[in-house]
Symmetry: none
Subunit: 205 residues, 4 copies
Amino acid sequence: MSEMEDKTRTPRQDRSIKTKEAIVQAAMRLFSEKGYHQTNTKQIAAAAGVSTGSFYSYFIDKRAVFIDVLKDYNDTLQARVEAYMSEINFHNPDKHALLTHLVDSLLLSHEVYIGFNKELSIMYLSDDDITQLMDAQYEAGRIRTLQYLQMGKDELKITDLEAAAILVFESINAIVDVIAFSPHRISIERLKSELVSMLVGYLYI
Amino acid sequence: MSEMEDKTRTPRQDRSIKTKEAIVQAAMRLFSEKGYHQTNTKQIAAAAGVSTGSFYSYFIDKRAVFIDVLKDYNDTLQARVEAYMSEINFHNPDKHALLTHLVDSLLLSHEVYIGFNKELSIMYLSDDDITQLMDAQYEAGRIRTLQYLQMGKDELKITDLEAAAILVFESINAIVDVIAFSPHRISIERLKSELVSMLVGYLYI
Amino acid sequence: MSEMEDKTRTPRQDRSIKTKEAIVQAAMRLFSEKGYHQTNTKQIAAAAGVSTGSFYSYFIDKRAVFIDVLKDYNDTLQARVEAYMSEINFHNPDKHALLTHLVDSLLLSHEVYIGFNKELSIMYLSDDDITQLMDAQYEAGRIRTLQYLQMGKDELKITDLEAAAILVFESINAIVDVIAFSPHRISIERLKSELVSMLVGYLYI
Amino acid sequence: MSEMEDKTRTPRQDRSIKTKEAIVQAAMRLFSEKGYHQTNTKQIAAAAGVSTGSFYSYFIDKRAVFIDVLKDYNDTLQARVEAYMSEINFHNPDKHALLTHLVDSLLLSHEVYIGFNKELSIMYLSDDDITQLMDAQYEAGRIRTLQYLQMGKDELKITDLEAAAILVFESINAIVDVIAFSPHRISIERLKSELVSMLVGYLYI
DNA sequence: AATGAATGAGAGTTCATTCAT
DNA sequence: GATGAATGAACTCTCATTCAT
């Protein structure tokens, strides 16, 4: 800990905190626009209005900013997802409406920092630390899904809730990704509607 | 054509063909083991037992080998998938068995060149040409799925076959990826079994 | 502008200015001694006592240093020519003395950076940007020649001053080049004296 | 000699001679079109319809073809100049006409292989062997000029014939080069006419 | 604390020439 | 004699990181 403080500053003063935030913001923007590998530290520093030297007094290396950016991103995403989720009444008898809202929530959440998503996926696959960070995040998502399922347990026809949680979470994610990244000939609405049908059929009745 | 030949060699002699293949094999192995960006052309050439110069007489640049490796990979994968598929009787009344076999087919197919998958995903997200190549491949997968659905059309309860094809294809892919890449606390068998249940419930009564 | 600064450094600190100058000086020396194509960026950097990285933070590429070296060279040359010229009294009735002084001026001017001349000629013929830069310089020389001719207009027997300016400028240049580069059996003095005779005879009675 | 024959073949058979000529022709074309350094041996071989291997059994290295090309060029040029010159009557009392014809001869001669001229100048300045070859050629030109001057000796007003020969030869060459290479605002006719005037005034009365 | 100049290893790529077939 | 595959040294350029001021 004290060794680390030797290297990078843990901001205590207001100005310091603002500078660090400025760097994270600038990095987020540049990573989203041009990608992690296509952005260099000089550019991040310049965009944040600081010198390269300063950059390295706030972050040990380039990866460190990415991780900070990622944490910010995760927090924002989680907050948004939670905000949407809180509106959902999981005892709503109209399961179709319920799941549609759920899928919409995730879709809308992903729309923040749309450009960052791609970079995140690349980094997830390239960097072990990022993999761990995100796996924890995904795991949290699956657990949350599990909790939701458990809340409405008695209405469900499925028995292996844990497996179902993963299945539901990943299916939705996959379709959300298809909608966000992949080209496809059919409309978002049709895709979403089929997804919801499948999930309702799987979970309830 | 003749201008292109000035740059890269089109193998004419036996020796030449073997060299090109050796380079592709070596590249495949190194990309799978260490990743595309962590592998340099010198290493590929050395692993193939040729000089850097030779490398560049067969491929314009590093991307070009990746694309050749990818084509090989796609061909192999497609052949394997098709081999598995041909064994499936789509009129088998036991839909559970049918879909289990289907999922197993994809899982087994993906086991070839397991390490290459990750790199491919990274490249898919990083390189526009690779994106296009793979999008075409995915589209082919969706279309094949659609054709299978259409073959057993009268047994299906769904109506939007096109959307369903995407949904089925992507759900299976997502779970296959989870199994291949992500850590998870529950067994592959439970996950697969739930997936099959969901799909059977969705597609057939 | 700001995008350019991202690539090459515009010297701000004293140290920076000195480094850039050191690189230009080193490049000039090496280009003169060994030629442009026989000199590589590593050597220039080493000779300037800096790293290759530094080299590339001041110059986009090798051509860029050459152009800077050339600008320095042109400035020096022009200053020298002008210094010599200013001593000439164009109304001196002894036209022989006048033109001898003129030729001597150009000869002496060319003696600076004697080795660089050859490289410059090569680059002039090889690189379009250098061609343009030097054509502008030559044009300036011809125009200056024209102005001198016009100053003593009423003493001249020629009528097409423009063509005469080119002719005079190029003849002198050619002989200066012969003296500088080509082997020849006769003395510089004889050559110079004949040249002056020819020009006096051509321009004045 | 015998050592050289070991390396490159001295063609004795018809086919061999033709092949060698084909290589020289192809090289001449490519050097003229793209320049010496922008042309590689593979391209020369291909353009001549032979393999790279064959190329190296006719020429020790790339420079060797250039030298052969240059010899061809010099021979052709000399033949053309001589053909033009032979038409000139050096006792023609109209000296203006005489010199105009002379200048035209050189201009026309230079028009052959126009593209090759530039490359030749570059090589002249870059390669010592080429320098020597061409210096010999230039020297021959000056000597020929001297001989012409001596032929009409009694009509000349100049006394230092040797210096005059150089001066005349170089002045004409310089203006021919200006016309061929450099941009200039005035017409070729005016330039030529002034040049002739200057030379007539210098050489005769 | 802050600046921005300096570093240097390492990447991709070219091509004259050699050599096995 | 001919082919064209193979060689490998050499070159240019980038950028995360350090360090003098």
